[in-house]
């Protein structure tokens, strides 16, 4: 572990790195929060269209993906615990599991999008949902693609970070003396999971109950 010269001790460096990740996640809250806020405004204005559009989302894929992500968070959290104990092998395995689950999520998302596009649910000319509030339904899907797209980008970054941790675990870089990167990536991964839970509630659930 390379201690940078501006820190007075390894603990100081570790604390600083964690503080940085928390602050970064706060900015992400503002980013996604802005999106959620607009969503809520439009849902209020276009209740009919949003309800119609929600019916066309795939609850099966959405719920499956939610379970996958929750499982992946569990896996990585266990990995963080392993890192604290210096258990490289477990950390490696759990990181690979996490990354694999993340990739499954992305693949399923791709499948879902393909289905949506085939069903003429991508906004624009030829949009498939009609009715009295077709505009509202189209707005729903605009948000759907923007929000899930942005989330998928965050997921890809997350998978890359988890694989980086796996690589570090293989080279036995982490242990009780220093496992800050594992903690930091763990925070990020849990956050991306949390964002998904909110998205799932808004996209798949809230119009159906």
């Amino acid at each position: 572990m390379r201690r940078e010269m501006q820190f007075s001790s390894p603990a100081h460096q570790a604390d600083t790195a964690l503080a940085g990740m928390w602050l970064f996640l706060a900015t992400e809250v503002m980013f996604f929060g802005g999106l959620f806020f607009i969503w809520l405004v439009y849902r209020h204005v276009h209740a009919v269209g949003f309800a119609a559009a929600t019916q066309c989302t795939s609850l099966l894929i959405g719920a499956t993906n939610t379970l996958i992500l929750l499982a992946s968070s569990l896996a990585f959290t266990l990995g963080v615990l392993a890192a604290r104990k210096g258990d490289h092998r477990t950390l490696l395995r759990l990181s690979m599991v996490t990354a694999a689950l993340g990739l499954v999520f992305i693949v399923l998302k791709g499948v879902e999008w393909a289905q949506d596009v085939a069903a003429h649910l991508f906004p624009g000319a030829g949009f498939g949902i009609g009715g009295t509030d077709a505009g509202g339904a189209q707005l729903f899907y605009a948000f759907y693609f923007v929000a899930t797209g942005l989330h998928a980008v965050h997921m890809l970054v997350g998978v890359a970070l988890v694989l980086w941790i796996a690589w570090g675990a293989q080279r036995r870089r982490f242990g009780p003396a220093w496992n800050t990167p594992v903690e930091v990536v763990g925070l990020y991964w849990s956050f991306v999971d949390l964002i998904w839970v909110v998205l799932f509630s808004l996209i798949y659930v809230s119009g159906r109950v």
């Binding site: 940078e4 600083t16 940085g20 900015t27 906004p123 077709a134 505009g135 707005l139 605009a142």
Partner: protein, 538 residues
């Protein structure tokens, strides 16, 4: 060149690689200085074109479409590639660790990455503006920007989006640094005010910029896929765009001005040789501006079709946010009282700031008054108002800070007489350029007009004359600063006799700043009583 060349951060290594891959906050600050200067002159060239064009009522130089592209470029470049980053990434990067007694920022590699992000965003944005141009104004109102404007709107927006990440990373770096890397003994209420203003600025940067990011992302999505997020014809709401846009862009103006206020709070005590008046009140005012500034965005929309009740609330809050700024002005003036005042260039810029910022701020009260805003909004009155604060205020403070810390950064003194002349010329040229615009606005001349009714010509010509003087005045520092790098007198560690940890370092500092971490026991601005004068470098 002196025979005994010390080892410092400049002389450490000279290769291009050592500059482009540096993680030293001081070198990164210089990289940013270069970028910022280029963008400033780019935006300034656009301004020159605008003022030249407007000397004739029918327009002297450009077609309507070209003019619209030029003022859009001026706004986009000046706001996102100059004003928002300027002080934090140059003076902030260089001075903050030194003021804190730290060896670098918390995340030096992130700092370097921020510069690359900034350059990428700036290049993409400027390329779009040149290659075909964008004519929506820097505010990108919908549905004009999404469905009607031709040009590379998406490309510009992508450029701004990328540079936004640079802003967030910079802000994050400063916040964590100020929390975690203060020298022992540097309690929060011993910190120089510049640190407090950088901190407040960084809070706004990290909280507001993501909202801009999502707004621009939706704008691009709508433009590419013709979806109606903001387009009423497709079920969207154009006012929603305005709310989201101003939710970022109003706090953004506090990002621009707070560091300037911090610089002035360092310069005035140093050149009045006494401690600052009302240290804690200035700090609380800084925090108040940052917080209240998030809740006034609706004052950009008083005639936009928002509800009466929301407008009343936004007007009240806009008056509230002006109070802490007034408190600061009174405190700076209080610092002059019973001081021992020197008129070096930094002080001239600081005094100019106080005067011009006060004018700008007071004229803000005109547009904050609901009924008066109906007449004054969207006219040259608003243009004058914000230029008094941004250019008269912020740019003056920036120049003041550059002059003040130039000896520390470069190890050279700039020629003082030229510095003072430029400061005075800038003050004069600035007022001649922008004061007539208050009058134009009261008369009703709208902004963003490529041509105008003839009765407005005289004031336009006066303004353009001022702009010529201002342009020349801004070129002067470019000249004498460059000269000073080769021929300026060598600067001692503390040419101004100022307080603050940065002045305990040699000029220029060594790469690692402090060999041993200092311990701070004194209050800030602990100037000796008037009479104990320092010796300035010649």
């Amino acid at each position: 060149m002196s025979a005994t060349l010390e080892r410092n951060y400049l002389t450490e290594q000279w290769t291009l690689r050592s500059w482009l891959l540096t993680t030293d906050h001081k070198r990164i600050a210089l990289l940013y200085f270069a970028s910022i200067t280029v963008f400033f002159f780019l935006g300034g060239a656009a301004a020159a074109l605008i003022r030249l064009h407007l000397i004739l009522p029918q327009g002297a130089l450009l077609s309507h479409e070209m003019y619209n592209r030029v003022f859009t470029m001026h706004g986009v470049v000046m706001v996102w590639f100059f004003l928002v980053p300027a002080v934090p990434v140059t003076l902030g990067n260089f001075i903050v660790p030194l003021m804190l007694g730290a060896r670098d920022l918390a995340f030096p590699r992130l700092n370097l990455f921020s510069w690359y992000l900034f350059m990428a965003g700036g290049i993409v944005g400027v390329a779009a503006l040149f290659w075909g141009g964008v004519d929506t104004g820097w505010t990108f109102y919908t549905p004009l920007a999404t469905d009607y404007a031709r040009g590379h709107v998406v490309m510009v927006v992508v450029g701004i989006f990328i540079s936004g990440f640079s802003s967030i990373a910079t802000g994050l770096n400063f916040i964590i640094t100020i929390h975690m890397l203060r020298a022992p003994g540097l309690r929060w209420f011993r910190l120089p005010i510049f640190i407090w203003t950088i901190y407040a600025t960084s809070i706004i940067l990290v909280l507001a910029t993501p909202v801009l990011a999502i707004t621009l992302a939706l704008l691009a999505f709508e433009r590419i896929f013709h979806v109606g997020v903001f387009d009423p014809a497709l079920g969207g709401d154009p006012l929603l765009f305005q709310h989201l846009f101003w939710f970022y862009s109003h706090p953004a103006v506090y990002i621009m001005i707070l560091p300037g206020m911090g610089i002035v709070s360092e310069i005035i005590p140093a050149f009045a040789r006494r401690e600052i008046f009302g240290y804690k009140f200035i700090i609380w005012s800084t925090v108040a501006i940052a917080v209240i500034g998030f809740f006034v965005w609706g004052h950009h929309m008083f005639v936009a079709g928002t509800s009466l009740y929301s407008s009343i609330v936004f007007s009240l809050l806009s008056y509230a946010v002006a109070v802490p700024s007034a408190i600061k002005v009174f405190n700076w003036i209080g610092t002059l009282h019973k001081g021992s005042i020197h008129f070096d260039a930094p002080m001239l810029y600081a005094l100019g700031f106080v005067g011009l910022f006060t004018i700008g701020g007071l004229t803000g009260l005109f547009v904050a008054a609901l009924a008066a805003d109906v007449h004054l909004t969207q006219t040259y009155f608003v243009v004058a108002h914000f230029h008094y604060i941004m250019v008269g205020g912020m740019v003056s403070a920036f120049f003041g800070g550059v002059h003040y810390w130039w000896p520390k950064i470069t190890g050279r003194m700039y020629p003082e007489m030229w510095g003072r002349m430029a400061a005075l010329l800038i003050f004069f040229g600035f007022n001649l350029t922008f004061f007539p615009q208050f009058l134009l606005g009261m008369q009703g001349m709208p902004r963003r007009y490529a041509s105008y009714p003839p009765e407005f010509q005289v004031l336009n010509v006066l303004s353009s004359a001022g702009a010529t003087i201002l342009a020349a005045a801004y070129l002067l520092p470019l000249g004498y600063f460059t000269w000073s790098l080769f021929r300026g007198a060598r600067a001692p560690a503390n040419p101004w006799g100022a307080t603050g940890l940065e002045w305990t370092m040699p000029s220029p500092p060594p790469t690692e700043n402090f060999a041993t971490t200092p311990v701070v026991t004194e209050r800030p601005y602990a100037y000796p009583p008037p009479g104990a004068e320092p010796t300035h470098a010649p």
